[in-house]
Amino acid sequence: MTYTEQIREVIGGIGTSADRPDGIPKVQGNFAYSSDLSAHGMLWGATLRSPHAHARITRLDIAPALRINGVHAVLTYDDVPGVKTFGMIESDQPVLSDGTVRYWGEPVAIVAAEDPHAASRAAAAIGVEYEQLEPLVEPEAAEHRGELFRRLEIRSGDQDLRGDVVVEGFYETGMQDQAPLGPESGLAIPDGEGGVDLYVATQWSHEDRRQIAASLGVREDQARVHLSGIGGAFGAREDVSLQIHLCLLALHTGRPVKMVYSRTESFVGHVHRHPSMMWYRHEAARDGTLIRVEAKLLLDGGAYTSSSPAVIANAAYFAVGPYRCESVAIDGVMVRTNNPPCGAMRGFGAVQACFGYESQMDRLAAALEMDPLELRLHNALGPGDAMPTTLQHIEGSLPTRRVIEQLRDMPIPPDAGASHPLHLPGGTGLTTQPHHTLRGVGYAVSLKNLMFSEAFDDFTEVRLILTPVGVEVETAAAEVGQGLVTVCQQIVRSVLKMQHVAVMFVDTSTVGSAGSTSASRQTQMTGGAVHLAATELRGQILTEYQGDDLDERGVWREGELIMTLDEVCERGPTTHHVQFRHPPTEGPDEHGHGHLHVDFSIAAHRAVVDVDPELGLVHVVRVDTVQDVGKVLNPRALVGQIEGGIMQGVGLAVMEELILDRGVVRNANFTDYLLPTFADAPEVMAEFVEEPSHFG
């Protein structure tokens, strides 16, 4: 039998700016986010939160709330049937207050009622009396009292080495909020057999399941976590927020329960970027060679652990930046206070340290009367070097020099909008005039790890299914907006030469964990798993039909087309399931040394900034960047990630900060917590360096 060749080109493969499959429903307003869900007979949940940063509950009376019409449940600490605490690394955060509240906004009780108004009224009607306790809010005082989540003392090289030129500096960064636009929200539906299905916006459904099942006191297969539409994350959805509460209420009432946080509640309902205090001392030889870096980084973890131990590790391991240095002494200290808990946010500790070490490199360049880029190039860390802190040997690529040189060579385009008031510091209010402003140009280089570190067993699972119309990818990886859904399609198209690829985000009982959508890991991990599965499936098809090649026309044997891909899809093999791991890492020794990270990525940025020095107004005119990205899978999506990351960095630098007053957040809303708008957005030009990773 011979086949007529069908010429059909597979579009949207690797390296193209393939369209998002969820793009059209998103522009039409039809995409279902977790806050859009509903179910028949659904109740609404609400949370009573502590108005104090530190207090003992002396009286808790739920009777007034239960008397309100339409209220079905009011639950407190005693109603948590299983483990009464939760947490990603340490289970130390009470599901509901254990009698002491340790931060402003800590959940005390939860309510389910027929409508959201009744639920709010009921939460407010709960009688609580507090004995206020002195809140511990100063990180230095917390360190003095030994309230530590983790302390690292990294010592590398000869501790007596000294340089000729010394610069010292003290740096602080503020508490930043991820502010994903989609509020925390979800819908829990009891299954009538003691289990529950939770539809929720999360970054890691299997980790949620582990914590939910433990607190409910049920088996993990009885707590099924389904990924709902996710309105951004940036770290805010890596920890449990309302997941356990929703499931408790659903199991208690036997009814579906929905909960949507208000923006103010969202600000206290998730963790934040750690505020930092950093003391630095850099010593260099006259020729600019970095001799010694001493630093202490003190980060405030807030009231509960969250991912703080890993964040301080990142800050400390990257405290020198992408530079060689013979002698290093870094103390990384993460303290426990009565401030809001801090945890994952984009950059995960590497951001704070970068502000410290790059400020120091500029100071050092000034002291040496050296060009700041020359100083960085002179000390640039590269392949074959060891990390100055951990002494880990750099495997494969680390194009520090290349990103700096390429950025240096990028021209600064003329400033097209300079005459428009929108581009002035202070904006269209015409607070300042062009002749009152000064322009500065600054550079910074940042280094960060990829994927999970310090011996964490990091893996991801996917299942590929051949169907009569193409390929289905089943994954529990969270698509938070970054475009993983598109990348998975592109990889399958390129390997299996099939156009129609459907990515199905399935629940925790259908496929194994994909790990967290964080740590710059999903493209490489779930993308890597998809690539592995597609490649193995291709091999199975060739074996099954004794072919020697497969392309968009079909399966070939000795130059002859023996089967079309449509026929392959109809006949199977049907499913293929893989688990994908990255190479293992190890934990640190007592000096902070070891093979702690899988891989690294490097980026260089150049900011052009206008300042009115009299009024202190700042406008970031443009930010150009060269980034080490591995292989570019989708250029348009990549630029989107880079520009979005830069905007959040600009926000941290010039306007975003949660303001605390004795542990109380004073600006937990979008009126007082300033987010960058179109008027603040700098022009961005991004270039990529494509060098392969040493694995995958």
Binding site: V27, G29, P180, L181, I230, G232, M647, Q648, F670, L675
Partner: protein
């Protein structure tokens, strides 16, 4: 209280309670969840709708005040077959990531282009300065809409 609003060209009745906002009514009663609930104090523009010709934040409009008015929501742009040019432009530019702000941008940008089919970059920035996007950094949104303005001006990119 029972009110009638003309929503996306259809006279629609709703039972409202005192504190309900127009956004509450659209989302929870009328099965129009496209308008998003991101800040509920008029700062982020995710719930932008056109109310009697003006772009407003539906979260700041008392439902009772919307009685008898004409409202166009994101669901009223384009149809199942053909997208509105602004929807196409946002997709082409890469201006959609998580998408939570997108309905608000669609409404605000469509009204801008309706009034001025060839806005300058500054006019786009200014018209959309009330819409917060946390994912894109605005660059991709701007490029998509700049390209649309160029096409409208006859400069086919």
């Amino acid at each position: 209280m029972r009110i009638t609003i003309t929503i996306n060209g259809i006279d629609t009745e709703a039972d409202i309670h005192g504190p309900d906002s127009l956004l509450d009514v659209l989302r929870d009663q009328l099965a129009l969840p496209g308008s998003k609930n991101a800040c509920e104090q008029g700062e982020c523009g995710s719930c932008s709708v056109v109310l009697d010709g003006d772009v407003v934040c539906a979260c700041l409009v008392m439902a009772a005040d919307a009685a008898g008015s004409t409202v166009r929501t994101v669901e009223g742009y384009g149809d199942h077959e053909v997208l509105h040019p602004v929807q196409e432009a946002l997709l082409d530019g890469g201006g959609v990531q998580c998408g939570f702000c997108t309905p608000g941008f669609v409404v605000a940008a469509a009204e801008l282009f309706d009034a001025n089919p060839t806005p300058t970059s500054e006019e786009i920035r200014e018209a959309l300065a009330g819409n917060v996007c946390r994912c894109t950094g605005y660059g991709a949104i701007l490029r998509g809409l700049e390209d649309l303005a160029a096409r409208n001006a006859g400069d086919v990119p």
